[in-house]
Subunit: 640 residues, 2 copies
């Protein structure tokens, strides 16, 4: 090996202690964003202060708040408040709750979020999909409807919100943001699309002024409910609905054409509610086929902490509903926060956001609110209205407070059909046909994951759609893990590069040498497969079973650059491969193993069994060493 | 880019069709061993014949069978038969079944395996761990004991064996051998160790000649049962037991010292049974504190196909017991088959083995046998006795048939304590303390996985131990997936190599350039993490927020050689990273993307957005192109 002594070598002695290794792994798993990274240089007092600032972002942005920020936040806050009123009422009705609870939910949670939240663009409020999911889980879990037992039904929503909050805060404190990573973009696209379709169909109840409807959420049941009760259809309601729909769609179209006029589409829903209410009041709509919302009590959120229901029978329903809808709400909120932050080149900390969401839902559950998160529509309006900080949520909250204190009874006359049209228009944007098409083009499996969520929600239940889709994603992840890609490398002529022979044409091999790239962690789930696969690569080489000649396979190089980790089963596999190949008279070498892998291979004495001199930094070195050895032995033969 | 035109380029136009891509993925997932790979050149008739040979290996080795093989197989078969009798009786007692069922189970299944099995070394029979697992599942699931309802208890075992067989055969036909890959070596080591400890403690019943005992399998219950009924202890039984134990351990020790005398330890158990029986017969042991096996009926296996119980109430118990114990049996059998095959440089096909196991268990369930597989002890004896083909199983089967027809009643006098000592000695070998130590040294997480199975089995139940351990393994696999390793690469001076700067000291950077290696599939589970991680790498670079100067980060190279796949979320992440970096005025390039990844990046138009000219085959090329561009622009500045 004398001639390659000057070449760089793989360091086989450097060995991190167990503490260092596990510490760095835990850090990457739970603190990928390294929040306290810059603290080491600071004094203890400053550290506490920065730590507080980390968990309570208002301490960071509050002191720097300026009047020019305030002006922007005021405008944005007023705009989202005008959206919060109709959306609050609509989504509460979607959840089967009294409309006032939707308004309550836009008062307390935004205040909490303004203190603890880290996103400067998020506008807090209720969301359609999670509202429907909650309703379907609570109704199906316990056979409880608002009609049969209004108090219990409402209390279960508060209890679910409490569990949502506890779970979200716990995930954040335990830094388990990693769990959200398993809800893939494709799953969410499909789920949202399916849910939007169902919600739109459900709004036919409001559009047609029907009084009887189903609480189920599958396509068949909803269509059946629409067409079975045709005698309940009211043309007055429908005509009014079409007018509102056209107005809302027009305002949306206007925004797309002239983005500066975004505020028209932002206040359009409130306009619809106000105009619809006036109209219904003037023509006494209720008596002419246009059902209205009905009595709304004046006054702020009543305290509901005493109403949380932890009795055995209902506990599991509330827990399940809270946890499932909480996950969904988290995924939506964090995705929205991240995409808006990206537009401003800011960063969002997922774990910190979870804590903020958790605290706001716990506080909400104590004050007659149900599940809130950062809905896309409201947050986008907030962003476009030029919000600068979390203070726009405070402005919205104060507006809602004023509405609750003084104006709530006026919304009594809001026609249900107006709410339905607002929901329909909001939902249309969630059915992303172009994204379905793009997925089909780019990645068929992602398309299947997306479609399984879409069709699952549409045809069965929301939970089925979500679980099948997440299950498929996980199976795919595990298959990636269990069936890693390997490939044969060849030399690109004129360079020192070794690349996949299938990908690059015209690569050249050295006779008798096989270079294999193993490109993933090697561990129990794929060790068996890799052993088979390496054997097959070896068997596919020419002549390796015939009489010995120069073309025979004599040397296998395993390129380990992509092997980021190895476990006990993986090391066992390497020993087995070595044994199998040595029986065939084939020498084995290893190039570019990573530090984590080297440590384990040394500890397991694989390096000893292989021979330290057969571990190289590059494939070129390995092949050079082999040629040198061949030459040496042929020289010896000649000498003899 | 003129100057690097001669350099190799990444092929951006090659695009496999969806069919080709999915076909190759499916093939790697389900046919990693490529069983029909060589068939293309053959005539249709030969193809059918080879296909039959593939599924019925006896058609392959049968015609080539020679007398010299027969001589070896006869000897091996006689040896394993002498082991099969005491083991069959012992393990049946462990399962709480009448001893004769253990003998039945060594008659039919080996015949079936000889036809369909592909391992030349496996000796079929019942196993201790699966016997105990079956007993604990059936007893706990339905509160059924042999004492209370012997017929039902036995029938549930047959039914469980039937389900085991169906499941195993189905897994094999569907080529789902991939599932077995998720039972890691560490899990099996821990599970076997824990089970062996419990089984040894349970044998205290036999050693002490006790009549009352627990059916539970946790340490506390078993110790309680031993010490609570101290008045049942019989010293006669214990003294006899110690004698047998010493004899068996001695014979084992002899084998280790002189491997050629393996047959002494192989027939030692039969000797213990025979001598023990003689002794008990002569001294009328039963009346003097030495309980015996009791009546054994003469005659071959009765047909049990009519006894399979598919009634709702018992169905789920039998199904669960069958599936769980079937998985365990498969994992043990296939591991044993593989390790023995490796010693002879042969290959075992896991999927084919599953079919053979499945068929033998289905046939077994029809003929009064319970779960069988390839136990380690028996198979190792078979191997050492020099078996050449599966025919040794036939020899064993014929011996057991003769025993069943003529000798069974003689085993009536076998003292229970003899069976207990046989089990104890077999189990001692399964507690691999040295393996625990090795795991602790090599891989702490594997050690935890192993210990969780060991302690779970010992302290709680076998199912808990198994599930916790498999669960931990899966979580680890998913964490690997969700938190892939990334690293910063630096140039090793004097070479074109770029390696991890933390692993290799003395690497050099080009100022203003950051080279990052992404080393795993990029997809939904890690896209969020990778985005954060890349941002952090970028932020950690010097000066990137200060005034612009030459040291500022201007160019980021993503080395993609280790990225074996990418999905929709992953592509979205790349777009986001590009957007974030471009906002900071940082150019991004990509080196060595793999074919699968290139296809998707082209389809998603990421390549277009990045610019084709910024995709390179090697890091060297990327840096060269960047230097060239810098020089060009500084030339321009000078010209101006």
């Amino acid at each position: 090996m004398g001639t390659i002594a000057n070449h760089p070598k793989v360091n086989l002695t450097k060995n991190r202690t167990f503490g260092q290794a596990i510490g760095s792994d835990l850090k990457e798993t739970f603190f990928p964003d390294n929040p306290f990274g810059g603290f080491k240089k600071l004094s203890p007092g400053l550290r506490v202060w920065y730590c507080l600032q980390y968990y309570i972002p208002i301490l960071e942005w509050g002191p720097k708040y300026t009047f020019s920020y305030f002006r922007s936040d005021l405008l944005a806050g007023l705009t989202i408040a005008s959206l919060a009123i109709p959306q609050g009422i609509s989504y509460a009705r979607l959840a089967g709750l009294p409309p006032i609870i939707g308004l309550y939910s836009s008062f307390v949670p935004p205040l909490i979020y303004a203190v603890f939240g880290s996103s400067k663009n998020l506008a807090v409020g209720t969301v359609a999909a999670a509202s429907l999911l909650l309703a379907s889980l609570i109704q199906s879990g316990d056979d409880i409807t608002y009609a049969a037992n209004p108090e219990l039904y409402i209390n279960l929503f508060f209890t679910a919100a409490f569990f949502t909050g506890v779970m979200q805060a716990a995930l954040g404190f335990l830094r388990l943001g990693i769990l959200i990573d398993f809800l893939s973009r494709s799953t969410i696209t499909g789920f949202m699309g399916g849910t939007a379709c169902i919600i739109i169909l459900q709004q036919m109840k409001g559009m047609l002024g029907m009084t009887h409807f189903t609480t189920k959420t599958d396509l068949i049941s909803v269509l059946h409910a629409i067409f079975h009760n045709r005698h309940e259809w009211k043309w007055q309601s429908f005509v009014l609905g079409i007018c509102f729909l056209l107005f809302l769609l027009l305002s949306k179209h206007l925004k797309e054409k002239m983005p500066k006029l975004f505020w028209v589409s932002a206040i359009a829903p409130l306009l619809v509610v106000v105009l619809g209410g006036l109209f219904a009041f003037l023509v006494k709509g209720e008596d002419h086929g246009i059902p209205i919302v009905g009595e709304l009590k004046k006054g702020l959120n009543p305290i509901s902490i005493g109403h949380l229901t932890f009795q055995g029978k209902h506990l599991s329903v509330a827990l399940k509903a809270g946890v499932l809808s909480g996950f969904l709400a988290l995924a939506e909120g964090i995705a929205v926060g991240r995409s808006l932050a990206m537009l401003k080149d800011e960063q969002i900390d997922g774990n910190k956001e979870m804590i903020a969401y958790g605290l706001m839902n716990i506080a909400g559950s104590f004050t007659s609110c149900y599940l809130t998160t950062g809905p896309f529509s409201k947050s986008a309006v907030n962003y476009h209205a030029g919000c600068k900080t979390q203070f726009s949520n405070v402005v919205m909250s104060i507006c809602i407070m004023l509405v609750l204190l003084f104006l709530a009874p006026l919304f009594k006359f809001t026609p249900l059909v107006a709410l339905s049209t607002i929901i329909i228009v909001a939902m249309i944007g969630l059915i992303e046909i172009h994204e379905f098409k793009r997925l089909f083009k780019v990645d068929k499996f992602d398309f299947i994951v997306c479609m399984s969520a879409f069709i699952g929600v549409l045809m069965f239940t929301m939970v089925i759609g979500l679980s099948v889709s997440v299950g498929l994603s996980l199976i795919r992840a595990l298959i990636y893990v269990a069936r890693p890609k390997t490939c044969k490398l060849g030399n690109i002529p004129g360079t020192d590069l070794y690349r996949d022979v299938k990908q690059y044409t015209g690569t050249s091999d050295m006779p008798g040498v096989l270079v294999l790239q193993l490109g993933s962690p090697i561990y129990f789930a794929n060790a068996g497969y890799l052993r088979e696969r390496i054997s097959r690569w070896v068997e596919n080489e020419p002549n390796n079973r015939g009489d010995k000649n120069d073309e025979d396979l004599q040397f296998v190089v395993l390129e380990m650059g992509g092997v980021t980790a190895i476990d006990n089963s993986g090391i066992g596999m390497l020993f087995e491969v070595q044994k199998i190949l040595e029986k065939k008279g084939i020498k084995i070498a290893m190039t570019n193993p990573r530090q984590e892998v080297v440590e384990k291979l040394v500890a397991a004495e694989f390096v000893k069994s292989l021979g330290e001199e057969w571990i190289f930094v590059s494939i070129k070195d390995a092949i050079y060493a082999w040629s040198y050895k061949l030459q040496e032995s042929s020289n010896k033969t000649e000498e003899v």
